[in-house]
């Protein structure tokens, strides 16, 4: 963890799922309680090296997510710090009752790395799209819900998650590019959003891959004289309510952007807060309440408006 920004980045190969594996590997090197559980995802998460170096620190549990989650809970009861790795669509929905009862209800410090979230597996179709996972996890008491915007943030948040008293969900990407947005030397804190661009007319609160799009939208808007604030809300729960309320008070208009269906995700979390504390006009960039089409990730994203252009359009719509 003392390695430099560039050295770390080289290990991730530009992928947040590999950054999670790197963080677990580094944590395991420092803390004998750390153990990884893989639901047939050792290479997907980047745990092969740890498995070879320390076979007892990576437990392969096969394609059986319910059992994986239950084992993690049992390990936690005896003082271990389990890190569960799986495909986002399956490690959430398939093991939902184990997540709720054995992990969240029993308040176990289990960290879940969910790879290929959103529509990272676009061509695989609706069975493999994880676009309701934030809603499921947000609805879970005791759960911390994190959406890193890039691999470096995934690494740093996974390191930070190790100290949480309770379960943590870390939403990770797949094999599609994840452009870096985290500046070198960034200090991340769970529950504390990052203001990446200051602006005064409207604020875009984004998470995950939509942060890059939000930054592009802000640049586009700036060219036409519209000042857009961009907030990277990597912590969906706990939500940084101070940052949201300040944005509402200072810019008066909010756009949220996420690679997730509208019900229950980031937009819902922000709207729930603002409706009570500081109502302002809002727009939501999110997937509609329907199953997405099959297709390459970038094309599916474009089809549903998960783009800089759509975010910029929402900003202009609020100002006009």
């Amino acid at each position: 963890m003392s390695a430099g920004h560039d050295d770390l980045s080289a290990r991730f190969q530009g992928q947040s799922r590999l950054a999670f594996g790197a963080a677990v590997t580094d944590l395991a090197g420092q803390d004998p309680r750390v153990v990884a559980l893989s639901a047939d995802t050792v290479d997907l998460i980047g745990l092969r090296q740890l498995m070879q170096d320390s076979p007892d620190r990576v437990l392969e549990t096969g394609i059986a997510e319910q059992n994986t989650m239950g084992i993690a809970s049992g390990l936690a009861t005896v003082g271990m710090r389990p890190h569960v790795c799986g495909y986002a669509p399956f490690i959430t929905a398939r093991s939902m009752e184990q997540l709720r009862n054995d992990v969240a209800y029993a308040r176990q410090p289990v960290v879940i790395g969910a790879a290929c979230s959103g529509i990272a597996l676009g061509v695989s179709g609706g069975t493999h799209h994880a676009v309701e996972d934030l809603a499921l996890m947000r609805a879970m008491p005791n759960m911390t819900v994190l959406v890193p915007a890039d691999p470096m943030e995934a690494y740093l948040l996974t390191i930070a998650a190790a100290d949480r008293d309770g379960p943590v969900y870390v939403r990770l990407g797949g094999r599609v590019p994840e452009p870096p947005v985290t500046p070198p030397g960034a200090r991340l804190e769970i529950g504390r959003a990052q203001v990446l661009e200051n602006g005064s007319d409207v604020t875009v609160i984004a998470c995950g891959c939509l942060v890059t799009e939000a930054l592009a939208a802000a640049r586009d808007c700036a060219a036409s004289g519209l000042s857009v604030r961009v907030i990277n809300m990597h912590s969906i729960k706990p939500l940084d309510s101070d940052a949201v309320l300040a944005a509402a008070a200072e810019t008066g208009r909010i756009v949220t952007a996420e690679e997730h269906r509208l019900p229950g995700g980031l937009g819902s979390a922000v709207a729930e807060l603002l409706a009570r504390r500081h109502p302002v006009p809002m727009r939501f960039v999110a997937l509609p309440d329907s199953f997405a089409v099959v297709g390459p990730t970038d094309q599916v994203r474009a089809r549903y408006g998960l783009t800089a252009a759509a975010i910029a359009g929402a900003c202009r719509e609020l100002v006009d």
Partner: protein, 278 residues
């Protein structure tokens, strides 16, 4: 052990089982209703576990090296509370708080109550959790044992078989499953609902050591527990053939007594049969 000593041990365990059954009805009476059938069927097994097998310290419930017991069939929580009280984990007055407002002793086990290792109630969870405990013991170099009690109807949940496969694959010989095979579930007899036979063959095919006992014969129960672990490399399942509602004749072997109301007259009948004071 000399025969006379062994007989004394067995008689003491049988007396504990009787006391557990009385406690079950006391808790159910306090709650007004509940799962008597699957609680009563487990009473002898729980007596043998807590007063013979499990290395636990009621005055130090978080002792790291304690044996772990997970009641996967969490709806039998009246039985767990009954035995925890007998073992000294909590005060007898707990029984009178069954279903009480903010009580740690509700219809299903809660990890916040001293002596309860996992919150259960959703079926098909305990074996995975117990496997995690057993794997944790191995990782930490501890020698505690883990026992998970599963219901027979519960075995219809597929997650059990994920756990069974994994436990054998990982060679967790310190893990023992006990199936409380009372043959009856909520809506009828198990074999009429979704049959689980051939049960012993299933476990054996999944790579487990299999032992079958009469779950109300204390000598057989103790012999099976004393023989654990049955293998250095394989987990063991004890299939305990039991009778739903055992000990109160009117409630035996009937799905109608899986879970129902407990008015005063039922409580009095039960206690009369169990030789207790109503």
């Amino acid at each position: 052990m000399p025969t006379s000593n062994r007989q004394a041990v067995l008689r003491r365990l049988e007396a504990e089982a009787l006391a557990i059954r009385r406690n079950i009805w006391r808790a159910l009476r306090a709650g007004g209703s509940g799962h008597m059938g699957g609680s009563l069927s487990a009473a002898d097994l729980l007596a043998a576990l807590y007063f013979r097998f499990l290395r636990v310290r009621p005055d130090e419930p978080d002792w790291p090296d304690r044996d772990r017991f997970v009641l996967s069939k969490g709806h039998a929580n009246a039985a767990l509370g009954a035995v925890l009280v007998r073992a000294g984990f909590c005060d007898e007055s707990l029984l009178d708080r069954f279903y009480g407002y903010e009580s740690p002793f509700g219809m299903h086990p809660d990890i916040t109550l001293a002596g309860v290792e996992m919150s259960t109630g959703g079926l098909g969870h305990g074996l995975s959790v117990g496997l995690g405990m057993a794997l944790g013991a191995r990782l930490q170099g501890r020698d505690f044992r883990t026992v998970v009690m599963i219901g027979d109807g519960e075995l219809q949940e597929g997650s059990n078989w994920e756990a069974a496969m994994a436990a054998a694959h990982h060679g967790t010989s310190a893990l023992t499953a006990i199936v409380d095979y009372n043959k009856v579930q909520q809506s009828g007899h198990v074999d009429a609902m979704l049959g689980i036979e051939p049960l012993a063959d299933k476990w054996a095919a999944f790579g487990w050591e299999v032992r079958e006992v009469d779950g109300h014969d204390m000598e057989r129960i103790v012999t099976a527990l004393d023989a654990l672990p049955c293998s250095d490399s394989r987990p063991t399942v004890i299939i305990a053939h039991t009778v739903k509602g055992k000990g109160t004749s009117f409630a035996e072997d009937s799905y109608l007594w899986h879970s129902t109301m407990v008015p005063d007259d039922v409580y009095r009948r039960a206690m009369a049969e169990l030789g207790g004071e109503p």
